[in-house]
């Protein structure tokens, strides 16, 4: 019975075969990566360069027939001197900081508890990770109901525990609770993600290290700070990086919960940017806004990745 591969080789036109045989390894490698590079250039790099170019103009995408003027740094100056935008940045930073702090503490604590062997461990892990499997749109909608002063579970629970009438305050309304309400929802949803990464870190620590520590009569407290924390730290930092980048561009859930309100109390930079770009259609201005946000995230992420690598090397 003839070998099918031989048959295929024989069927290949000799000219093509000769041409492929004539290629160097480097050329073949380029041949394989070229489509990916082309796609990256087309989908990522070109739009980025184009956005930079637009950021120096007064272009409006909804007025294609209008003459586009070169405005130099005007868009950047207007953004950087706009008190409203700085307030939005502060709101974003507040949201970012507290969600990361809470998710790291709770995620690590949950991972540490789940890492112990007990009956129902798998079921509990599955239940804990359920929130992160939900769509942010669904989460936003049902937390709106949970926060509803008259029928919501949150206000009811507060009334039950403190005696404060449920109708007397609104978690998503005025009174300063709204920024904390969105932090609670994000923490509820994404703590399991941090937990899973920490769990991977905890399970990667070999048992013999703890056994050696036991032999040296190190206390549990000391084992925790000198073995567990340093060895999980790179994982934890990775989780912080992922969550930090995600939360910097948080949009859907907050729009559904508060729409940026009350007033501008929960108006994150991403929501403001969307309004500038696709509601006001100030394309040039919003391009500059996007570039500033991009540079901020990219700069912070680069510094952070360097720190992460240093921690890994230790």
């Amino acid at each position: 019975m003839p070998n099918p591969l031989d048959a295929a080789a024989r069927a290949t036109p000799p000219t093509v075969a000769r041409r492929i045989r004539g290629l160097s390894d480097r050329a073949i490698a380029w041949l394989f990566v070229a489509p990916t590079i082309f796609l990256l250039l087309a989908i990522n790099i070109f739009p980025l360069i184009w956005t930079v170019r637009l950021s120096f103009t007064n272009y409006r995408a909804n007025r294609p027939n209008e003459e586009v003027e070169w405005v130099g740094l005007r868009n950047y100056i207007r953004i950087l001197t706009d008190d409203g935008i700085w307030a939005n940045m502060q709101t974003t930073a507040h949201f970012l900081f507290w969600t990361l702090v809470l998710q790291v503490i709770l995620g690590f604590a949950l991972a540490w508890l789940i890492n112990r062997k007990f009956k129902g461990n798998d079921l509990l892990t599955t239940l804990i990770v359920l929130p992160m499997m939900l769509s942010p749109a669904v989460v936003g909608n049902f937390w709106t109901f949970l926060y509803q002063p008259q029928i919501g579970l949150v206000n009811y629970t507060v009334e039950l525990l403190t005696g404060t009438p449920a109708n007397s305050f609104s978690m998503l309304g005025p009174g300063g609770y709204a920024p904390w309400s969105i932090i609670i929802v994000d923490t509820w949803m994404w703590t399991p993600f941090v937990m899973l990464i920490c769990l991977a870190g905890l399970r990667s620590i070999p048992d013999y290290i703890y056994e050696a520590a036991e032999v040296d009569r190190a206390s549990k407290w000391r084992q925790f700070w000198t073995i567990t924390v340093p060895m999980v730290l790179p994982f934890l930092m990775l989780a912080v990086l992922f969550r930090g980048i995600e939360n910097f561009k948080m949009f859907d859930m907050v729009v559904l919960l508060t729409g940026g309100g009350p007033g501008n109390e929960t108006l994150l930079a991403s929501i403001d940017l969307k309004r500038e770009a696709f509601e006001k259609w100030r394309t040039g201005y919003s391009s500059a806004y996007a570039i500033i946000l991009f540079v901020t995230v990219f700069g912070l992420a680069s510094i952070y990745v360097k720190a992460l690598n240093k921690v890994k090397e230790r």
């Binding site: 998503l172 309304g173 508060t258």
Partner: protein
């Protein structure tokens, strides 16, 4: 073999030709997803029968309607052949070339704008305002009105308590201040063992809610956008003492007469609050009134309607839309045919009977119109004194600024009414400067 290939090619060509023909024999009409849109689907079946053109519909929920449709227009998309767009879009639709100018078509088909209510023609069809350039046919008249629990208002114990509390009889409010007083009377009151509240009003932050709600008070107090129409001279008009008083009034209304947690509410929340028996009164668009009247729990004998009460003058916030032909359509003839059909007085009468708010004189001037629905008379009264938001091409920027300023003041307790309106002038001035109009 060659013969088979040729035959197959010919069949494929015929198939694609018939598909293209079917494509051109279809129309897609875009609108918001709400009760009147369902009525229009039913109404349009007559058009399909008469013309042989198949109608498709793209209905988008209100919170996303503007985003979705304006993106479609701005990208030159061909999704919609016909668009029932908000009145504020007319400036952008006309100036950016999204809408077809209909003057020649109207003239050729004997469609006269004089056959429609003048306020509706002005608001829904013309650009620049007051000119005779028509970019839409008035399709759906609408204004912001009020409805209330007629059964509660009729109860002797409640009437007596109201008389004792206010010194006057409990009845439909005739002024904004009476409206507030009535709402405050119901706020927190026990009715049938349940705590109820005064009224649901618009406070939504994200799209247009709080602006549409607060302008109901602002217009009634005499608020103007400009001192001289077309001059963009806003100082003294937007922040006049009357406007400041009206905005303070709206904030007091929100703080003292609405259900708890009512800080981001618009049409849907208003309907929910009323239908669930939480509130004695509610504001909403007339478009919802047929559905409210038909509601088995809170409609019928339990509901009645009233026009937005006057204060210094009668005034209602304009809603409603005109129907425009999208200039990117690949079925221009079909789209114009639909407009011609829709403008027919008989079709307009049927439109009203099915729940659509026709503003055709053949409908409105009918002697039986006022009695044709419990809210018909109020609708006529409201439409005679409607005022609309800016209809400039930059309306979205103007609206976002007003949303922010009003929500900051009314809901988030920031600053004073005067500061909010002064800030609004500053924001709008910046927009008009960017537009080259100042």
């Amino acid at each position: 073999m060659k013969t088979r290939l040729l035959t197959a090619t010919a069949v494929a060509a015929l198939c694609s030709a018939s598909a293209a023909s079917a494509q051109s024999n279809e129309l897609t009409l875009c609108w918001a997803a709400w009760d009147p849109a369902n009525a229009l689907v039913e109404l349009s079946k007559d058009f399909e029968t008469q013309s042989g053109i198949k109608m498709n519909f793209e209905f988008v929920p209100w919170p996303n309607f503007a985003d979705r449709m304006l993106n479609e227009l701005n990208s030159g998309g061909q999704l919609c052949d016909l668009l029932i767009g908000d009145s504020q879009w007319i400036g952008g639709g006309a100036e950016n070339g999204h809408y077809v100018k209909l003057n020649d078509f109207f003239a050729a088909n004997s469609i006269s704008m004089a056959d429609f209510m003048p306020a509706a023609v002005y608001a829904y069809s013309t650009w620049p305002k007051g000119s005779e350039n028509y970019y839409a046919l008035p399709a759906m008249g609408d204004a912001n009105g009020w409805f209330y629990r007629k059964d509660w208002f009729a109860r002797d114990d409640i009437k007596a308590a109201f008389k004792e509390a206010t010194g006057r009889d409990l009845a439909e409010p005739k002024t904004q201040k009476e409206l507030l007083e009535t709402a405050q009377f119901f706020q927190g009151r026990e009715i049938d063992g349940k705590t109820v509240y005064g009224a649901s009003i618009f406070t939504e932050r994200g799209s247009e809610g709080i602006t549409m709600g607060a302008t109901g008070a602002l217009y009634a107090w005499g608020f103007k956008y400009e001192n001289t129409p077309g001059k963009y001279d806003m100082e003294g008009a937007v922040n006049s003492p009357a406007a400041v008083e009206a905005l303070e009034f709206y904030k007091e209304f929100y703080k003292t007469a609405t259900p708890p947690g009512y800080d981001n509410a618009y049409m849907e929340q208003s309907l929910d609050a009323f239908k669930s028996g939480q509130v004695a009164m509610a504001m909403n668009w007339f478009a919802f009134f047929p559905g409210l009247y038909a509601d088995p729990n809170t409609g019928g004998d339990k509901i009645d309607f009233f026009v937005n009460p006057a204060q210094n003058q009668p005034a209602s916030t304009l809603g409603g839309q005109g129907i425009s032909v999208v200039s990117y359509t690949d079925n221009m003839d079909g789209a114009l045919e639909y407009i011609r059909w829709f403008a027919n007085p008989e079709v307009q009468k049927k439109w009203w009977s099915m729940g659509g708010y026709s503003v055709h004189n053949a409908v409105l001037n009918d002697p039986g119109f006022k009695d044709s629905a419990p809210f018909a008379g109020d609708f006529l009264e409201a439409m005679s004194a409607v005022q609309d938001f800016w209809q400039e091409p930059a309306y979205a920027s103007l609206l976002l600024a007003m949303q922010e300023r009003l929500h900051n003041y009314v809901v988030a307790d920031q600053g004073t009414a005067k500061e909010a309106l002064d800030g609004l002038i500053a924001d709008w001035t910046e927009v008009f400067e960017d537009e080259g109009k100042l």
